[in-house]
Point group: C2
Chain length 142, copies 2
């Protein structure tokens, strides 16, 4: 399979396939015309990489997992360990995003009823300066 064929097969981009090839996560052979040719092993390897990416493993994680497997070892313990780390990170980001999203919504609501004000030498934008997060207690804000 050629680059674009492979990318289409899995709903990703040729650049992504080339990127993984560049990282040596994929190892195509070469056609007579110099084009990269991905045999079945590389096709299933890409499937694996994309699944892992979708599960939140970093490219570096995946490289690590693949290296482990190339030694003939079961990568399962490593995979379980890594997913826990990635999940913990995702949880942190999720909480941060929850807070951010709420603040943005609050700001939007507050700013809709505030008037415009011209800037001064010490004030760029009074909307941003005056923003106050609303309290969470018993509110129906969300």
């Amino acid at each position: 399979m050629k680059v674009t064929e492979l990318a289409k097969e899995f709903g990703t981009t040729p650049d992504t396939v080339r990127y993984y090839t560049r990282l040596k996560l994929l190892n195509p052979t070469k056609s007579e015309n110099g084009y990269k040719y991905y045999p079945p092993t590389e096709i299933s390897r890409l499937k694996f990489i994309l699944s892992a990416r979708q599960l939140g493993f970093s490219v570096s994680d995946i490289q690590h997992i693949v290296d482990e497997a190339s030694l003939g070892k079961a990568a399962c313990p490593l995979v379980r360990s890594l997913i826990k780390e990635r999940l913990a990170e995702t949880e942190k980001q999720f909480q941060a995003m929850l807070a951010l999203r709420k603040n943005m919504k609050d700001a939007l609501a507050q700013w809709e009823v505030k008037e415009d004000k011209a800037p001064t030498s010490t004030m760029v934008c009074h909307l941003i300066d005056s923003f106050e997060p609303t309290e969470n207690n018993g509110g129906s804000h969300e």
Copy 2:
């Protein structure tokens, strides 16, 4: 105020202050010893920048807002417009993260009851290969 003093005042890092200075978002004067000195206007400017960052405006957004204000115009319409864009993006990311988080949790649960398996020529890790997102219908998975 010097770099580190200013950073401490607002709970950020000296590198962040230097970064914004580098971008010309902050414009310190120079002390006799060559150190950057941030007068009150720049102190309130940093406060503004950090508030805007916390509300999800990009550094580029903030530059745009500051440029508008420097023309003497009220940046309020721009700020309202930008927050809507950033909120829409954040909402998309939030949904993606919801899905990712759920998949990661599902995977973790599934993989805890699966046995380890050695890799083969076409299989790096059966855990990742065999992952199936659970259905949402009436489940108590979350």
